[in-house]
């Protein structure tokens, strides 16, 4: 913009020409326009400020929401992880899927352990892969699994007597002897009838030989650790639980005196 009197350059806010001192007749109009611009600028600035404030609040609220959601999900998951039933259900499902996918491999290991008469290893293998609960897969192994459990339980009870372990329940040698007696008398109750039944399909699978050997291994184990005579070891299968317990405990007192 130029001064209409001297042609000098005028600033937009100059009321008078700085060179000739004549009034700038566009000043009022410029001032009103500037005021309008300024007001508009301030308004826009306020709007931007407000919008930015709102956006930053929304941003923070989103962050809070996401953090709360993460914490909430983690707490729910922690609850699930710590819940025994949920945890076991998931573990069982995982194991079941594994057994289903690796059935050939598991069958081969099971057969090998059975052939080797590895009673302990077989029982822990069954425990690890929950094979007893997968009875759909292993119905013919039922008695084999039960015989192995009996063997392992008696094995563990004898170890508990020898090492003086109290099972966290203050168990005494008499309690362990009673437990052994229970497994000995249960052996025939739960396993033998089918083994002795000549019509049973168990004879066709070779499992009968395993069960017979397992029973003999139990007899040898009890005889060796309680120093039973051959007759005592042989007759223990026909005795009552209380009589077996008394016989074992009477040996136990001298062989493995309890610590006071």
């Amino acid at each position: 913009m130029k001064c209409k009197f001297c042609g000098s350059n005028l600033g937009i806010e100059d009321e008078f020409c700085p060179h000739c001192g004549k009034p700038n007749d566009q000043f009022e109009g410029n001032r009103a326009e500037m005021k309008e611009y300024k007001e508009e600028f301030e308004k826009t600035k306020e709007e931007v400020k407000e919008s930015s404030k709102t956006n930053s609040r929304i941003g923070r609220l989103i962050v809070i929401g996401v953090l709360c959601a993460i914490i909430f999900v983690m707490l729910i998951r922690i609850h699930d992880f710590n819940d025994f039933d949920t945890r076991e259900r998931k573990r069982n499902k995982k194991i079941e899927d594994y057994v289903s996918e690796h059935k050939d491999e598991i069958d081969a290991t099971l057969a090998e352990l059975e052939n080797n008469r590895d009673y302990l290893a077989l029982d822990y293998f069954v425990l690890n892969y929950r094979l007893r609960s997968n009875s759909d897969y292993y119905p013919e192994y039922g008695k084999v699994f039960t015989a192995s459990i009996q063997y392992r339980a008696i094995h563990d009870d004898i170890l508990n007597i020898m090492d003086g372990y109290d099972g966290y329940e203050g168990k005494k040698d008499r309690d362990w002897c009673d437990s052994i007696a229970m497994y000995i008398t249960d052996f025939d109750v739960y396993i033998q009838p089918q083994y002795f039944d000549p019509e049973s399909s168990i004879h066709e699978t070779g499992h009968a030989a395993y069960i017979k050997d397992c029973r003999m291994a139990v007899q040898d184990m009890v005889q060796a650790f309680f120093e039973l005579s051959n007759d005592q070891a042989h007759d223990m299968w026909e005795m009552t639980r209380a009589d077996v317990c008394d016989m074992l405990y009477s040996k136990c007192v001298d062989l493995y005196p309890e610590e006071e």
Binding site: S56, R60, L67, I78, F125, Y129, H155, A224, F225
Partner: protein, 139 residues
């Protein structure tokens, strides 16, 4: 040119405070989450070295042997020294039976396992000696 310092929005200050609290809260929650997760994903009945040591100290040899088997079925080799001792205990137990029953070949085979296990159990051999004593096995 000096810039006019704008006054902080009190709502934002409050929100920032909440965010800080939530981030701080995430640390213990995260820790609990991962420890619960790793426990839940751990196969049942496996025992870590610390637990194997505890079982040994409690003389719970039955659970000790169980830990050895379950660990090996799950490919856990972190307790190898303890595993060798567990093998020793099991073999000594079997040796005692076969020796008493005069099953010589079987007894020799268990003796061999005992010797092999003893060679790989490191400083735990002191426990093997205790097992011999407990089982009444002569050296």
């Amino acid at each position: 040119m000096s810039r006019k310092k704008t006054k902080a929005d009190p709502v934002n200050i409050l929100l920032d405070l909440i965010i800080t609290i939530l981030i701080v809260a995430m640390i213990p929650v995260g820790f609990l989450y991962y420890s619960a997760k790793s426990y839940a994903e751990k196969p049942s009945f496996t025992q870590d070295a610390q637990m194997m040591g505890f079982l040994l100290e409690k003389r719970d040899y039955a659970a000790f042997i169980q830990g050895r088997y379950i660990n090996s079925y799950n490919g856990d080799t972190s307790t190898d020294g303890y595993n060798a001792l567990a093998d020793y205990i099991e073999a000594a137990f079997n040796y005692k039976i076969y020796d008493a029953k005069n099953y010589k070949e079987k007894a020799d085979s268990q003796k061999e396992i005992m010797n092999d296990s003893k060679a790989s159990m490191g400083s735990l051999t002191v426990f093997a000696d205790k097992i011999d004593e407990m089982m009444g096995i002569e050296k």
